[in-house]
Subunit: 460 residues, 2 copies
């Protein structure tokens, strides 16, 4: 279903400055074995939940049952959630549902994942409340952006349908036992799905977080889990070269540590995977960007993930990747059989040579040419190849990159599952918004703002 060709990340093909030598990869084998054992042990012990999601049929059953019970007249699903509560869902929607602007899925899915009112206001002006289901996703139940949106949307529903019918149009996806969303669901009899406490937001796409919206849109949630389960099998192997996530993790960590490649590019040659790359950016950045290592030493580490898409970014970022600093490792994703294709007609002009070829062939040639061009200048890349883009291969890709992130965390020596750095900004914003108990944080910002010198301001 999936292959990984990493020959162009190795010295044999791109030279020692550009690639790793085989012994360098092998030297990481012991550390990798410890890493995979730790991750698998924590998964077994129930500390780390994402690893077991593909083999848990209960969520899928619950999601399927619920989706089957939703009225056929519901045409729109409004998902309120941000970060890990929306990025995976958007990746599923694009990859499996076709271009969302064409509305090809069974129900239209909307993801206004920001406190910016831009999209939500437009949606509320256009959607018919009587035909809309609202899914609010927040693991903690305390995400301010989602809470604020939910208050607005609930009133929009209640104004149109009355309070009781509004309640029936709400579904919460949240912690099974605590937090404001769970409490509200329990108190008011609102339907709620669980985000397992041991699954972090950015690792939650294969939980009800991603499966419920997928299923409501008529997409193949079961296939996602099947593909992920097959991949999970391979990701348990302790021999580095047998473990696809191990290969991904070790190549990125070693290119960073031994060759200074701190910029990691994910470049699917597939429009349908653009949001997959955005999902991966969160996964990689938030998991691996850490101030402290496991021993609490200050390290301030973390690679910089870059989303790209081929062939489009050959006309945007590729100039930098080809000629700029040698600090990048590019991971291509190739889809061998396109979901749709178009044949280029015969013509007599400058492009006669394209006649009879298909757009997918052009895309494939561009990927091969680009990888080779980078290699000829000693710039490394690897290619993850899927036979076709369907629910199974997408599920496998999700799991592959999640496991690679967990392993990379181990190899970097950091905790890949927390995000302590975002708390201060939240606290300061809470203060500005007048949240009780945060008054000092608000004053702190206002005083700092007033002390900033006006000479560092340009006013037209």
């Amino acid at each position: 279903m999936i292959t990984i060709d990493y020959s162009l990340a190795m010295a044999e093909a791109v030279g020692t400055a550009g690639g790793l030598r085989d012994p360098e990869l092998e030297a990481e084998g012991k550390a990798f074995e410890r890493a995979v054992r730790r991750v698998v042990d924590e998964a077994k012990a129930g500390v780390l939940g994402f690893f077991g999601l593909p083999e848990d049929p209960s969520t899928l059953r619950a999601v399927d049952d619920f989706a089957a019970s939703v009225d056929e007249r519901i045409a729109d699903v409004l998902v309120l959630g941000i970060g890990g509560s929306s990025l995976g869902t958007r990746a599923v929607l694009h990859a499996l549902g076709g271009p969302p602007e064409l509305g090809l899925t069974r129900r239209r899915l909307h993801l206004p994942d920001n406190s910016d009112p831009w999209l939500l206001a437009a949606l509320l002006g256009r959607l018919d409340p009587s035909r809309t289901l609202v899914v609010a996703v927040s693991k903690s139940g305390g995400t301010v952006e989602t809470a604020a949106q939910l208050l607005v949307v609930r009133k929009w529903l209640a104004d149109a349908l009355g309070a009781a019918e509004a309640r029936a149009r709400l579904v919460y996806v949240t912690d099974p036992s605590r937090g404001p969303l769970r409490e509200e669901a329990d108190a008011e009899g609102i339907r709620a799905f669980d985000v397992p406490p041991n699954v972090g937001g950015r690792f939650s796409v294969l939980s009800s977080v991603g499966l419920l919206p997928a299923r409501l849109s008529g997409l193949d949630a079961a296939g996602l889990l099947e593909g992920a389960a097959q991949m999970a099998e391979a990701c348990r192997r302790t021999e580095l070269r047998d473990n696809p996530a191990g290969i991904l993790a070790a190549l990125h960590v070693l290119h960073h540590r031994l060759r200074g490649r701190s910029v990691h590019v994910l470049m699917p040659y597939a429009d349908a995977l653009r949001p997959f790359a955005a999902w991966w950016v969160q996964l990689w950045a938030e998991s691996l960007g850490k101030r402290r290592d496991r021993q609490e030493r200050v390290v301030e580490t973390g690679p910089t993930p870059i989303p790209a898409v081929g062939a489009t970014d050959q006309h945007a970022q590729m100039q930098l990747f080809m000629e700029g600093p040698r600090d990048k490792l590019v991971t291509f994703i190739e889809v061998a059989e396109p979901g749709a294709d178009l044949t280029i007609p015969e013509s007599s002009g400058a492009f006669a040579y394209l006649g009879g070829k298909s757009l997918a062939e052009v895309l494939e040639a561009e990927l091969r040419g680009t990888a080779q061009a980078l290699a000829e200048d000693g710039r490394p890349s690897l290619t993850v190849r899927v036979a076709r883009l369907d629910a199974r291969s997408l599920g496998a890709l999700f799991f592959l990159f999640e496991a690679a992130t967990a392993f990379a965390g181990e190899l970097y020596g950091i905790d890949a599952f927390d995000q302590p750095g975002v708390e201060l900004g939240k606290r300061l914003a809470s203060g500005l918004l007048g949240r009780p108990g945060y008054e000092e944080a608000g004053s702190e910002v206002r005083e700092a703002e007033q002390s900033r010198p006006s000479r560092h301001r340009w006013n037209g």
Copy 2:
């Protein structure tokens, strides 16, 4: 219309490790004066075209006349173009037209900007050829992705409408005197607009490249130029601190050169500006990522641009920006008055404190909290503030970042207007596609692929 607050990029507010000292900025004043003189002189001499676009009324007139002549029954505009031929147009569409999936513009604009058939195939299956206008954009006229799409789309039109009517539905935007698109337009009487030869693709949004699709969608093309013209005025000033583009350029170049900040983040707190950040990524990456400096010395330089959006990326990339390597400079864009807003209803739960506030207030608090949180850890940022997002301020933003890129090229000592690094990949792909004269390039790729060792492959 626009202000720039760069206090948090300076040592006084974030410390000497995090910020620049005033004398460091002042020491760049002479170099900046030379930079701006050179750019302005080249603009006057006609070498550099982008600088004069806002003051050229002829394109706007031609675009307006044409748009007024287009049949009211035309409901969809299909823009074929990639890189600089689509990124600016998409930025205009989102910022001024509302969420494209809601189809709020006068005509729906579609931008399948890839050789991937995914979106184009879906569009051709849904659009009505009798109600579609096709705009093919390629400055050289030789862009293979656009050419391949155009051949497909032209046949789609001709099959439905006949060859003559198909011709009438085509509009080309290309070089005024050469290249395959221009030749075809001349030979067949196809309507064509000019991309001035002295305006590169990534600097072309304020030419017919961006103005024509904007106008066809009913958006305010004249406002774009007015705002840009006002900004151009300020960007001619030779005193660094008076020149907004100079401030942007110098801060980024000096933070890179003196503080090792090679990663430049653009983070608008506005969903409508997400594609603006993608437009800027191309501008910054392709202009500044260069192997050689002006003296032809090998430098392999160029900052890494990162697109982000607030508040969403507080839940994705912010952990890395807050705790990871101190190699980043973040530029926020703040929109003071939102285009739409939603009031949060009163409630009794955990979020009672939000009652009566608006989503835009939440967004603003989050930006202020985030900037302050970065600053408290000595991590620099600056904020470009626009009063509201309209055609004038968007035009000003386009020009501001274009001029900053030109000035940054001068300060880095590289040519910001070429892109030699993408040629090799194109050549190799042409070989694989059987383009006459490129046979050897095709063999080169195939031979290299066959020599790659199979042990560097994971096969499931």
